[in-house]
Symmetry: C2
Subunit: 134 residues, 2 copies
DNA sequence: CTGGCTGCAAATCTTTTGCATCCTG
DNA sequence: CAGGATGCAAAAGATTTGCAGCCAG
């Protein structure tokens, strides 16, 4: 937690609660997930604070904003380079840490300077496979 | 255009205009882009019709809904398997048709049944590189 | 004809913003 | 103490929905 001071964050109780919720979190929560969870400790917590804090963390590179879900943003406190495996039914997201060697042929590159990549794998998770209805 | 009848689409003039706009379109337009373009021909065109038509096309597998842009959905009429290269500054999206062999180790797979994948490459396009201010 | 489609407006959902007050550093 | 952070409510966007009337098949 100390590291957050170093990046110029003012550590309010609300922020500590948000940071605590995010720390080690593998759920790739949405702003609402975070709001709901943290509201239990701070009934006055507002969405503005959640979004504010997330935006600040994002600027500092402490969380990633995922665009995986068409309906809302989700956030990932794991900033190590990794990919995602997404269940098409329940939207559960799993981290993939394998390394892939992805070159783009010069013709495809269209003059772009490539700075990164992200792979989304799609599938059906075990739970949804068993509940093979819907 | 004939193929659309086959998938049970009622071909109204509005839909033909939307389909015409999408055909061969490499811009990965948002609903608003489509609305604006098609409104020129149909001043009464409504967003509802655009969204309706896109949803119908998506169900039929005729367009892909891209989640690349955090702020809005974008649509891709190119349903051939391909990846995307995105300019971080201007959000321009380019199609990448290279093939990559992406296996997931059994341990990473977490019991998922994998059905597909999509790679997003990030970079800076030539135009934005030249205009090297923000 | 008839069911699906259109267009309008209102509703919903997510995210952002303005502003007075508060509190960390 | 000052400037950044909070919380509330209102605003802004994107998308969805209800519904009456319309038109392609």
């Amino acid at each position: 937690m100390e590291k957050y001071k170093d990046i110029g964050l003012k550590l309010t109780p609300q922020r500590l609660a948000i940071l605590g919720y995010l720390e080690g979190n593998k759920e790739h929560p949405s702003a609402e997930d975070i709001y709901k969870a943290v509201s239990k400790k701070f009934p006055t917590m507002s969405f503005a604070t959640v979004y504010n804090t997330l935006e600040t963390l994002r600027e500092r590179g402490e969380v990633l904003e995922l665009t995986i879900d068409p309906n809302k943003k989700r956030f990932d406190p794991n900033t190590k380079f990794h990919h995602h495996l997404i269940c098409l039914k329940c939207k559960k997201i799993i981290d993939i840490h394998s390394d892939y060697n992805l070159d783009i042929s010069k013709s495809d590159r269209a003059g772009f300077e490539i700075v990164g990549n992200h792979i989304e794998f799609y599938g059906i998770c075990q739970k949804c496979k068993k509940a093979h209805g819907s």
